[in-house]
């Protein structure tokens, strides 16, 4: 058990001393997860709203597909994105393999079904009569969309948190698409995997603590927003 305790001490020392390698991984994680969660929310919320709000032919099968994709294995996404971004792949010319934007593409694919599915659930669980109430107050179509979205905000927020959690903690995509390149594409999770393999528990624990701190910060902010409501 001593090695774990030593790991904790070493972790605090690395964090407090501003260890460049540790902070490089933290910064890479924050950047790439921000890209991916931003783009998945931007694409996923309107799609989720449409999926939950409108009735159309093929809605149920589409919903089943989205729900299934929520459990998509990260290594499978990593494999697909790798295949597309490698120089032999259809998107090889963009030079995105082993870059943070490349990882962000994979993580967006990972987060998108969660954002779409949970947004759709949030919109579906809204009172159907809310539409009548909003239109009867004089809303036009855009105002109806925005007001309905705002009414479903707590459910959508829950979806965003779940997606953020998945993006922050995945290893498969970051490892396969990013290549775990020190100072460039090494994220917190790939660094923990690597350092643990090397027996360097200190850095692993330090980075694990940072992940936990980020998760705590996000949840504190969300709780504050909910309370303010």
């Amino acid at each position: 058990m001593n090695f774990l305790l030593e790991g904790f001490f070493q972790a605090f020392s690395l964090l407090l001393s501003g260890n460049a390698e540790t902070y490089s991984a933290i910064w890479a994680t924050v950047r790439v997860s921000s890209y991916s969660i931003g783009s998945s929310l931007l694409i996923g919320i309107p799609l989720g709203f449409c999926l939950g709000y409108f009735d159309f032919k093929g809605k149920k099968p589409l919903r089943t597909i989205v729900d299934t994709l929520m459990a998509l294995p990260t290594v499978f996404i990593g494999l697909l994105v790798y295949a597309f971004l490698t120089h032999r792949g259809p998107l090889g010319d963009f030079g995105l393999l082993f870059t943070l934007p490349g990882i962000a593409i994979g993580q967006t694919i990972l987060a998108l079904p969660l954002v779409i599915g949970l947004s759709a659930t949030a919109v579906e669980s809204m009172d159907q009569k809310l539409r009548i109430a909003i239109i009867s107050m004089g809303a036009n179509r855009t105002q109806l969309f925005l007001s309905s979205l705002w009414e479903a905000r707590l459910g959508i927020l829950a979806g965003a948190i779940a997606a953020y959690g998945r993006v922050m903690t995945e290893v498969g995509i970051s490892m396969m698409v990013g290549g775990n390149i020190k100072w460039h594409t090494r994220t917190i999770t790939t660094a923990i995997a690597l350092e643990t393999n090397k027996g360097q528990f200190g850095m692993g624990v330090a980075l694990g603590l940072v992940l936990l701190a980020i998760a705590l910060c996000v949840n504190v902010i969300v709780s504050f927003l909910r309370r303010r409501d």
Partner: protein, 328 residues
């Protein structure tokens, strides 16, 4: 205008004209099309066939011409997930009234008997059913609408809230010239306030709601007699119904203190006067007479009421003719 859901026609109205600043009452059993009509008039939905004109212009949902002038208060008070003030201010903000929003919202709250000091910052979930309905009404009154449609506004609220809702809606007509179209089961209230009452049944408008409608199923008593056996042992006889579930519209010819004297073409039934109401516009009295458990509505002149000394609780006899029964 025709409107249908999943191929089933729920409304079929040839023509309906509403005068500005009038009060129209809609009555009819559940499923008769009252709420559907209000949703169409409120431009929430587009009729399957036909058109709605407002100030002579054809209007549709989301039309700029009408969406700021017509508003609907649904039966259940659906509030947005925000404070009372933000709920009342929502429609004003949609209209771009930025500066005066708080003042107008507070005035509207006062109209429905809610103090801005106590209620404006309350969240939507911290209200009773009656308070929520009053907030929903305040949100609409703040808009100074030209047309206010109300679907059973007092159906699920306490007596005090119902009174305040009634007062506030009538005040809107008086002070802002708002046209009120109200669907309600509170017949007595509607007859007191309305310029016109429309009776809806199976999606069609017929009569003024003073008709007595008796719903099927009908029994065959043999020897050509059909009708219903009433709980007090009397038989309510009708002419041949078009089908077992058809509804009969019975016009009561007279009310008297005397029972049947000699066999004739008139059917006589014994009942008890349960309510007397006055139609303010015409000055006519209406008596509701319970025959067993079935209410019959009878129009009386003031003189007739006085002559027969009609009062609630009194036993009377009503007369109608089989050949005057209409089927719907």
């Amino acid at each position: 205008m025709n409107h249908s859901y999943a191929g089933k026609t729920v409304l079929a109205i040839d023509h309906l004209k509403v005068q500005p600043a009038s009060i129209i009452g809609l009555i009819g059993p559940n499923g008769s099309g009252k709420s559907s009509l209000l949703r169409l008039l409120g431009l929430i939905e587009r009729p399957t066939q036909g058109e709605i004109l407002f100030n002579g212009l054809r209007v549709e949902p989301f039309d700029d011409e009408a969406r700021f002038r017509i508003t609907l208060l649904p039966q259940e008070p659906i509030l947005l997930k925000r404070s009372v003030l933000k709920n009342v201010a929502y429609g004003l903000k949609l209209r771009g009234k930025g500066k005066e929003v708080v003042q107008k919202a507070n005035e509207a709250l006062a109209r429905v008997g809610l103090s801005a000091k106590d209620f404006s910052q309350r969240p939507w979930y911290a209200l009773s059913g009656g308070e929520a309905q009053r907030v929903a009404l305040a949100a609409r009154l703040a808009l100074k609408p030209k047309v206010l449609l109300m679907d059973e506004p007092t159906a699920s609220v306490d007596a005090a809230s119902a009174q305040l809702i009634k007062e506030a809606s009538l005040r809107a007509r008086k002070e802002m010239g708002t046209t009120l179209i109200v669907a309600s089961h509170d017949w007595q209230w509607l007859y007191e306030i309305c310029d016109e009452i429309l009776h809806l049944f199976k999606g069609r408008i017929f009569g003024t709601g003073r008709e007595t409608i008796i719903f099927g199923p009908w029994q065959d008593f043999g020897t050509g007699k059909r009708g219903k056996s009433l709980s007090d042992g009397q038989q309510l006889l009708v002419s041949a119904p078009p089908d077992r579930e058809a509804a009969a519209v019975i016009e009561v010819l007279s009310v008297s203190d005397n029972g049947p004297t000699s066999p004739g073409e008139e059917i006589v039934l014994r009942g008890t006067v349960s309510r007397l109401s006055l139609e303010r516009k015409t000055g006519q009295l209406f008596a509701t007479i319970l025959i067993a458990d079935i209410p019959f509505t009878v129009g009386l002149t003031f003189q007739q009421g006085k002559e027969h000394t009609i009062f609630p609780g009194k036993t009377v006899f009503i007369r109608y003719r089989l050949d005057q029964i209409k089927w719907i």
